[in-house]
Structure formats: structure tokens, C-alpha cells
């Protein structure tokens, strides 16, 4: 080897050694025997781990795998895979959504069986959009529920302003909503907070409000689905017809510790709870509506220890109420 090449190599070695091996006077990226040191003085002595285990992903404005929950669900197979199948039996996936407001526009968030969506808390994680359609149903909802799936710890706002708009629509089995707020506020003609047609749904610790123009419903339970609602505040206002909770042709509705309130001005109608389905049970709740606090559609209905603030309609023969009272705490039988 020519002498100058040896000198060139040694010079390179000397300087590169000073760059990567010795303590520089000010930090720059450096490789050391223990690992990597970064210009900010931090050191890394082990391989970086993924931020979450398998079958989980973050949606976040920065630092997450996705910036939109719609995008995350559209690419479900990229993060929710076990054994080559997307969400096989016994596998579950969880999509975590970091604090922030996520504008979905006209896009629907379509949940998938076995994939929970979890925010960081009501009004901390907000999913906001403007979804509407010509008729109430799966096309008018910002979020569509799924089989054996949970949606929790977040706020859902749909400001769809066309004919029909709703916050959440579900037709699947055992859909769960916990610790959530649902706001439908786009002044659509038909505004519905939650529309449920699925059997075995359970909603707990929720707040729902629906405002609009013609027909506002906080929770609409229809079809053959049964539903349990625990610890909820449900309201409807601003429409010609306002109903906090409607139970139509369904097989079961059970409310415990629920405040169902409909507000009317002028000639508007306001109904707290109207049920034409069977299997209605209401416990320790408050039903409020100037037109009707409660409409009873079945002799098997049971309303217990509940405040009825407004007239009772469609009162079937027999006794359906026990311990019911009005706003002055006077007995209100039915």
C-alpha cells in the first residue's frame, strides 16, 4: 500500500474516531459502545420497542400510526392481524385515539367485529363530522357499530345538516357504548343521537343530545333489538317533535338511572320516553316532557321509583308503575 494511502486511512480513522468514539465538546449524533447518543444529549442503549403491542394502534394528530380513525379502520389488516386472518375467533383488536378533535367530514367511521375503539375520555377525544342522507339509517350516521364491539371514552359530534343525520347507528349483536357523549347538532330535519336495531346492546354512562328541525330523537330503539341503558342523560330539543327515547316494536328496553328529557317551545311536542314495544322496564329515572313524560305501550311495562315530569300517555290497563312521582314528589300512578 502506498504510504500516502496509509496516512489517508489513519487520518480518516483519527477523525472518525473523534466523531463517534470520543466525547465531543458539543453533542452530535454519536455511536458508542453502549448505543447511540443524540444531539439533545439523550442516549439509547436498547432497540426501540413499538409503542403498542400487536393488534393495537394509535390514532393521533402526531406520533400515532394514523391521523384518522377512518384511515385506521380502512387499513385494519395492517395492524390487526393474527394468524393471517383479520380478527379471527378469540383475537381482539383495540384502536386507541389520542386526545384531540378529529374532523371526519362526510366520512363514516365503520366499526368492525371484534375491534374496539377507545378514546382518552369524553371531550378529550372528539370525533366530529357532517354525515347525512335522505333517510335515517346506516347512511346517515357518523359511526356504525359492529358485532360484539365496544366504543368508549370519547365524544361523537355529527353536524350533518341535510335531511337525516345521526350520531351512531347499530344493527349488530351485542354492541356496547360506555363513557361516551353523542351530540347531533346540524339542524337536520331528522336528528337522532343513537339508532339501535341490534339485539343485546348495552349503553352505560352516556350523554346524548339531538337538536334539529322536524323530528329529534335522543335514542331510537327499533326492530327486534333489545337494549339496556344505565346511567345516562338523554335529551332532544329544537324540533317540531322531540322525543328523548323512543322504543318502537322492539322486544326489550331497560333503563336504570336515566334522565330522559325532551324540551319544547310553543307548539312543539316533547316526550320523555315513548314505548310501543314490549318488555319496558324503567328504574330510578326521570322522564320529562311537556306533552308526555311517558307513553306506555304494554301492560307488562314496569316503571319503578321514577319521576314522571309530564302527562302519561297510552296508559294501559293494570298497574305498570310503582313508586312513581311527579316534580312535587306527589304520587303519580300508572
Amino acid at each position: 500500500m502506498p504510504r500516502f494511502l496509509v496516512t489517508l486511512f489513519l487520518g480518516s480513522f483519527l477523525l472518525s474516531g473523534s466523531a463517534f468514539c470520543a466525547e465531543p465538546s458539543s453533542y452530535s449524533l454519536g455511536l458508542f459502545s453502549y448505543g447511540i447518543r443524540f444531539p439533545d444529549g439523550t442516549g439509547q442503549d436498547t432497540a426501540a420497542l413499538p409503542s403498542l403491542p400487536a393488534n393495537m394502534a394509535w390514532v393521533a394528530h402526531a406520533g400515532g400510526k394514523y391521523t384518522s380513525p377512518v384511515d385506521a379502520m380502512a387499513h385494519l389488516a395492517d395492524w390487526c392481524v393474527l394468524g393471517g386472518n383479520v380478527v379471527p375467533v378469540d383475537a381482539r383488536c383495540t384502536l386507541l385515539i389520542a386526545p384531540g378533535i378529529y374532523e371526519l367530514g362526510a366520512d363514516q367511521l365503520i366499526m368492525r367485529a371484534g375491534v374496539d375503539i377507545v378514546g382518552m375520555g369524553v371531550r378529550t377525544t372528539v370525533l366530529s363530522g357532517a354525515v347525512d342522507s335522505a333517510a335515517l339509517g346506516e347512511e346517515s350516521a357518523l359511526i356504525r357499530g359492529a358485532d360484539h364491539t365496544t366504543l368508549r371514552d370519547l365524544t361523537v359530534v355529527n353536524a350533518g345538516a341535510q335531511h337525516a343525520s345521526s350520531g351512531i347507528y347499530n344493527v349488530e349483536l351485542s354492541f356496547i357504548i360506555k363513557h361516551a357523549e353523542v351530540v347531533v347538532s346540524g339542524n337536520a330535519s331528522l336528528s337522532t343521537g343513537i339508532e339501535n336495531k341490534g339485539f343485546g346492546s348495552k349503553f352505560s354512562d352516556i350523554t346524548v343530545s339531538a337538536t334539529g328541525l322536524t323530528d329529534c330523537v335522543g335514542i331510537r330503539n327499533t326492530g327486534n333489538g333489545s337494549i339496556i341503558i344505565n346511567r345516562a342523560s338523554i335529551s332532544a330539543s329544537g324540533c317540531a317533535k322531540n322525543t328523548a327515547i323512543t322504543n318502537l316494536n322492539a322486544v326489550g328496553l331497560r333503563l336504570a338511572d336515566v334522565d330522559a328529557s325532551a324540551t319544547a317551545t310553543g307548539a312543539q311536542r316533547a316526550v320523555g320516553l315513548w314505548s310501543s314495544g314490549s318488555g319496558l322496564t324503567v328504574l330510578d329515572s326521570k322522564l320529562e316532557g311537556a306533552t308526555y313524560s311517558l307513553g306506555i305501550g304494554s301492560t307488562s311495562a314496569r316503571i319503578i321509583n321514577t319521576q314522571l315530569d309530564g302527562p302519561v300517555g297510552a296508559n294501559s290497563a293494570g298497574t305498570q308503575c310503582w313508586g312513581t312521582y311527579d316534580s312535587n314528589l306527589a304520587d303519580r300512578g300508572c
Binding site: 487520518g11 403491542p53 381482539r92 377507545v118
Partner: protein, 351 residues
């Protein structure tokens, strides 16, 4: 300047310029520059990577999911507690707490393994439908040896399911439970429990300590093997002294000759918004919703359903308020224990 010095200077400048002035390709597009590391996916790391969880926390993940740095069994994670739950030289010192997070998935414990919780170490799943722990445990007595999970003092268990699939156990023993606790201050929140198929089945046993249980879903059955006619099913068993509170629970016991949703032997037991349901899908059996043998009960805003007994009052001090009785009431005490209690037709049912 001699020729060799000039060459050394040139070589140094060449390499230092590569190291400090322009991104330096290293391997397959990975680039280092003085400010950090450029990755092939265009991401840039300018500071050391943080661990995915803070100190005193770790994950349990499903086996074969490709995340080898985490534990794949909650038993293993607790066996190696000192590796992730330490502060100073003392594991879990006063006021320090640790949290074991369990990712979505179904975790089958090996053999007759148990999860033995530690004081001040919480275990948190991703939801009862998402994180499911299945054990195969039985024993010769109702004590801690026959439970899938043993609670601990001042520790919390939440957001998961614990199931004892004892009908698949490889060992024998007449007693099986999902959770056994004798640690004071144990808290359970948003947990589903199921036990199925042994002679003596218990969902949760709380033995002689103060504890709080909230948002429970308990199912204890013997439907798997109806050939065991003498079987016992207790959904929740409060044994011995201690103040035990259960808020918001669905408790079902069914299919055993003695199916009792909630049994109290000596505890000061307070139930709020409970649905206790005992039934006999295999034919006739003893179906008791709540049975107080020797404790003191307070029950508020609940529904007690049992074809044999909706409630057995065990003390003159029992208090049952605004509660629905669907089934006979057994009350041998002279005083008044009930207020606002009613039957299926909404008629008063005093006691």
C-alpha cells in the same frame, strides 16, 4: 507541510465532512447525520426512543404476535415482577404502584397455573370482551388453591374477563373458582367472571376482608355437566368478616342443585343496583338469588330472582330497600327489614 501530513488532513476532512456536513448513507438507505437518524420510511429520529410505557408498567401480549420484548403470560409477568416493577431497591415500596397492562387477546394459562396478584400491583385489560384470561383450575377445597386468580391487598383488577374452564382441567378436585381474595382493599371494576362444570363452582370468593366490586358480570353454571346432580353454584360468596360492597352487577347462578347467586356467610355485605338471578335450566334445583346465612345485608335498588328464594334474610339488621323480589322471601325475624320492596305485579312485598 509534508506529503503525509497533507494526506492525513485530507482524509480527515473527507470523512469528517461525510460525518458532519451531509447525510451519510450507511445501510440500505438508512442515513446518519449530526442531528439524528433518517430512516427509509422518511421518518427522522432526533432523540433517544422512549420506552412504550413509563416505569413500573409493562405489557402482556398474545403469544406469537411478534412482540418478543413483552411478556406473553400474566403469570410470567408476575413471576418476574422485579424486572419491571421496582423503585429503588425495594419492589413496590410505600406509595409506589405498578400496573400490568394486558393487550387484547385470549390468554390460556398453562396447566393449572394461577395468577397470583401482588399488593399494590394493578392488572388492567383492554375491556371484558377484549382481554380474556382462561384458567383450568380445581382443588380439594374452596380456598385459594382452586382459583384462577388470587386477589391482593390494595390492588385493583379491571377491564377484563376471568374464566375458569374447569371442565377442561387435566387434574381433579371438586372445587373451582374464578377469583379468590383475602387481601384487604382489593378492588375489582368492570370485570366479567365465569366458572363452569365442577361439583363446587364459585364465581368470586371474598374471604374475611374489606373489598369493593363494581360493574361485574358473573356467570356460574353447571350446564356443561348436568350429570353432577349435587353440584353447588355460588355466583359471589362473601365469607367471614369484612365490609364488602358490590355496585352494579349481574350475577347468575344456574344448573346446580344449589344455585345461589349471592351468598353471605358472615360479611357486612352491601349490594347496590344488583341483578341476582338463580335458575334451573336442567330441571328442578334450589335456585336462590340472595342468601344471608350469618352476615348483615344492605340491598338497594336491586332485582332478586330465584324460584326457590329471592332472598333469605339472615339478620334482624338486614335492610332491603326499593328492591324487586321475584321469588319467595324467607324471613324469620320479627322486625322490619324491608322498605319499598315489591313483587312482579308491583304489589308490596314487606319483610
Amino acid at each position: 507541510m509534508s506529503r503525509c501530513r497533507l494526506a492525513a488532513l485530507f482524509g480527515g476532512v473527507l470523512l469528517s465532512s461525510m460525518a458532519f456536513s451531509a447525510p451519510m448513507p450507511v445501510v440500505n438507505g438508512l442515513m446518519l447525520d449530526p442531528d439524528g437518524i433518517h430512516f427509509k420510511d422518511s421518518s427522522f429520529q432526533h432523540t433517544a426512543a422512549l420506552p412504550p410505557l413509563p416505569a413500573n408498567m409493562t405489557w402482556v401480549v398474545p403469544a406469537d404476535s411478534g412482540y418478543d420484548h413483552y411478556f406473553t403470560s400474566p403469570v410470567d409477568a408476575l413471576d418476574h415482577l422485579s424486572e419491571w416493577c421496582a423503585l429503588g431497591d425495594v419492589i413496590v415500596p410505600v406509595r409506589a404502584r405498578c400496573t400490568l397492562m394486558i393487550a387484547p387477546g385470549t390468554y390460556d394459562l398453562e396447566g393449572d397455573q394461577q395468577i397470583i396478584m401482588h399488593e399494590k400491583v394493578d392488572i388492567i385489560g383492554m375491556g371484558p370482551s377484549s382481554t380474556i384470561i382462561r384458567g383450568f383450575v380445581n382443588g380439594s377445597a374452596w380456598d385459594e388453591t382452586s382459583a384462577v386468580l388470587r386477589g391482593a391487598a390494595d390492588a385493583a383488577l379491571r377491564n377484563l374477563t376471568v374464566a375458569n374452564y374447569v371442565f377442561l382441567a387435566s387434574t381433579s378436585g371438586d372445587h373451582s373458582s374464578a377469583i379468590y381474595n383475602d387481601g384487604a382493599g382489593f378492588r375489582v371494576n368492570d370485570v366479567s367472571v365465569s366458572v363452569n362444570g365442577n361439583d363446587r363452582n364459585y364465581g368470586i370468593i371474598n374471604n374475611g376482608v374489606d373489598a369493593t366490586y363494581t360493574d361485574l358480570d358473573i356467570q356460574v353454571t353447571n350446564i356443561w355437566d348436568p350429570s353432577k346432580p349435587s353440584a353447588l353454584c355460588f355466583g359471589f360468596w362473601a365469607r367471614g368478616p369484612g365490609s364488602v360492597e358490590i355496585n352494579r352487577a349481574e350475577v347468575v347462578a344456574e344448573g346446580c342443585s344449589d344455585s345461589t347467586a349471592i351468598q353471605d356467610n358472615g360479611a357486612n355485605l352491601r349490594l347496590v343496583r344488583i341483578h341476582a338471578n338463580a335458575n334451573c335450566p336442567n330441571g328442578s334445583c334450589g335456585a336462590n338469588a340472595v342468601w344471608n346465612a350469618s352476615g348483615v345485608l344492605t340491598i338497594l335498588n336491586s332485582r332478586l330472582e330465584g324460584a326457590s328464594r329471592s332472598i333469605t334474610i339472615g339478620s334482624d339488621s338486614d335492610r332491603i330497600i326499593n328492591t324487586h323480589f321475584n321469588g319467595p322471601v324467607i324471613d324469620v325475624f320479627p322486625g322490619t327489614q324491608c322498605r319499598g320492596t315489591y313483587g312482579n305485579s308491583l304489589g308490596d312485598v314487606p319483610c
